[in-house]
């Protein structure tokens, strides 16, 4: 049996309302497991992908793992209600993001997932089951604007920088590459936007980067850039940030599927 495990952020979160690239790719496999979640950072993406692979690897003959890495500054944190950075704060951000999404997408009702597919993005297990706020669970957040999110702003202002974020993402890409190698899994990856490549770290921090197998990268210049160059605004939803179904389908058929076929 041939299985597909995919990971990523909202660009990889397939729903009935908006099918994403992995939906189209799944047709080539007997079983598929999509772990992408809206707003997820790379630290949570790698955990969810490794967790999923560990669950299924003994039950299938072959696994292709395909990851579309997310924004380098997005963070994961294990927390609960009495922590300074707590699920309540993060839920406020999720609601803020949702309001912003609705503002940018007048047809938002057509785009959001069905109720049963909606994940409480503030406080969950590794498998995204909701957790009580007085228990520790996984949360994740993005660099945000808006005064009501001052604690998140404070974190980013004081204890985050792009070079540190770049190094972490680089280490995750490398670690997933080695994990897949250790477990006989075929790994293919790309980026959702081209921010990762725009960072210029000092040479001495590139030790992991220099050991990444870029022949497994199907889109270093990012999916978003590809859709923009090939399809223009017709490849995007009305927020001009997320590719629409046509954009996802084209990207899968023109980039990912041929890449995987040619790599084997």
């Amino acid at each position: 049996m041939k299985a597909l495990v995919t990971g990523g952020c909202s660009f990889s979160m397939d729903t009935n309302k908006l099918h994403t690239w992995n939906h189209y790719l799944a047709k080539d496999y007997n079983k598929s497991y999509h772990t992408g979640i809206d707003a997820s950072g790379n630290d949570f993406i790698i955990r969810r992908v490794i967790n999923e692979i560990n669950k299924i690897k003994s039950e299938v003959d072959e696994i292709d793992c395909v990851v579309l890495w997310s924004g380098i500054s997005r963070k994961m944190y294990v927390t609960k209600d009495n922590e300074y950075l707590n699920p309540g704060i993060l839920r406020t951000q999720a609601l803020h993001n949702f309001e912003e999404f609705k503002r940018l997408n007048p047809n938002w009702e057509d785009l959001i997932a069905d109720t049963e597919e909606t994940i409480d993005t503030a406080h969950v297990t590794i498998d995204t089951n909701p957790i009580e706020e007085d228990e520790y669970g996984y949360t994740w957040f993005v660099p945000a604007e808006g005064l009501h999110l001052s604690k998140i702003q404070e974190f980013y202002k004081k204890f985050s920088n792009l070079v540190n974020d770049w190094e972490q993402t680089t280490f995750y890409i490398y670690i997933l590459q080695e994990f897949c190698k250790a477990n006989g899994i075929n790994l293919y990856w790309g980026h959702y936007t081209n921010v990762y490549d725009s960072i210029e770290p000092p040479e001495h921090l590139k030790w992991a980067y220099n050991n990444i197998d870029f022949s497994k990268c199907f889109s270093n210049n990012s999916m978003k850039q590809w859709v923009y160059e090939k399809m223009g605004s017709r490849g995007f939803t009305s927020d001009n940030i997320h590719p629409n179904e046509k954009g996802h389908e084209e990207f899968c058929k023109s980039v990912i599927q041929p890449f995987i076929t040619n790599s084997k």
């Binding site: 294990v78 300074y84 520790y136 004081k158 204890f159």
Partner: protein, 281 residues
């Protein structure tokens, strides 16, 4: 004529101060060296687990020894030791940590001159000064210009307001435990892909205690990485310091309040690590 190729044996060790071998206090990894053709000790005072894993990863990457028998042995450190890539312009930067160390040294010199002299004679002052001057480094431990981005690392006990603010607001034990577990899992899988033998233990009992008291029953949903660790590779879950407490008197087993003595290091290696490695092969 029979020609037998001798397989090169390589040892890579890492950890924090409990794994930092020096002439004043030989540590467990010094006593583990026998029988290896090449030895690399990557431990450093105050290194956190995520940076320990990075240093071992880099060392494995830099080696081109497809036919060697490589043993990677780490003693995982305190959960709350963190690292950050920073430069002199950042809110949290390494100069602060060096300043704190220097202030503590001056205070010792002024308020406890006898203790200061004893520490100086033992070489502890030099060790501390060297350790803190190295707080802005590349992955190999070379000191990097403070204006460039580089690795810095720190612990919560540092008497610095920025470090204290970081720990008070944005750090908690369960998150630390989860990150340490994921780091160990990463190294386990890396060793598998690089055909190296992985062995690990804990320096303190904190990791074990947090699991038993706060994860196992109360927050099992953050233990998915723990459940994927190969526990047959762990030679000391409850920590070397606990082993020392159980097997030595306080005066003979410890060099100071927290660090095992040379005798304890030697005995721990002979009684625990060496037999474990031999039996695992």
């Amino acid at each position: 004529m029979n020609i037998t190729m001798k397989v090169k044996k390589i040892l890579i060790t890492a950890g924090n101060s409990i794994s930092t071998d020096n002439k004043n206090l030989h540590t467990w990894n010094h006593y583990l060296e026998d029988g290896y053709d090449e030895v690399y000790h990557l431990g450093a005072d105050a290194l956190g687990n995520r940076l320990i894993v990075r240093r071992v990863t880099e060392k494995l990457l830099s080696m081109n020894e497809p036919n060697a028998d490589i043993d990677v042995v780490i003693l995982s450190c305190g959960l709350s030791y963190h690292h950050y890539i920073s430069n002199s312009k950042q809110y949290l930067n390494s100069q602060q940590i060096v300043d704190v160390a220097m202030r503590q040294l001056e205070s010792l010199k002024t308020n406890e001159p006898t203790l200061y002299e004893i520490a100086k004679e033992r070489g502890e002052i030099d060790t501390m000064t060297e350790a803190n001057s190295d707080q802005h480094i590349d992955i190999h431990g070379n000191v990097i210009d403070k204006d460039l981005y580089a690795y810095m690392y720190f612990a919560p006990m540092l008497d610095d307001k920025t470090v204290k603010e970081y720990y008070e607001k944005f750090v908690n034990t369960i998150n630390n435990w989860e990150e340490t577990t994921f780091a160990i899992l990463n190294l386990q899988e890396l060793c598998k892909s690089r055909n190296a033998n992985f062995f690990w233990g804990n320096s303190l009992d904190t990791y074990y205690n947090v699991y038993e008291e706060r994860i196992k029953y109360n927050n099992p949903h953050v233990a998915w990485a723990y459940d994927n660790l190969d526990m047959e590779r762990c030679f000391c879950m409850q920590g070397m310091t606990k082993w020392t407490r159980d097997n030595f008197s306080k005066s003979r087993g410890f060099a100071d309040y927290t660090h095992p003595s040379q005798s304890a290091h030697k005995q721990f290696t002979k009684s625990v690590i060496q037999p474990f490695i031999i039996n695992s092969k």
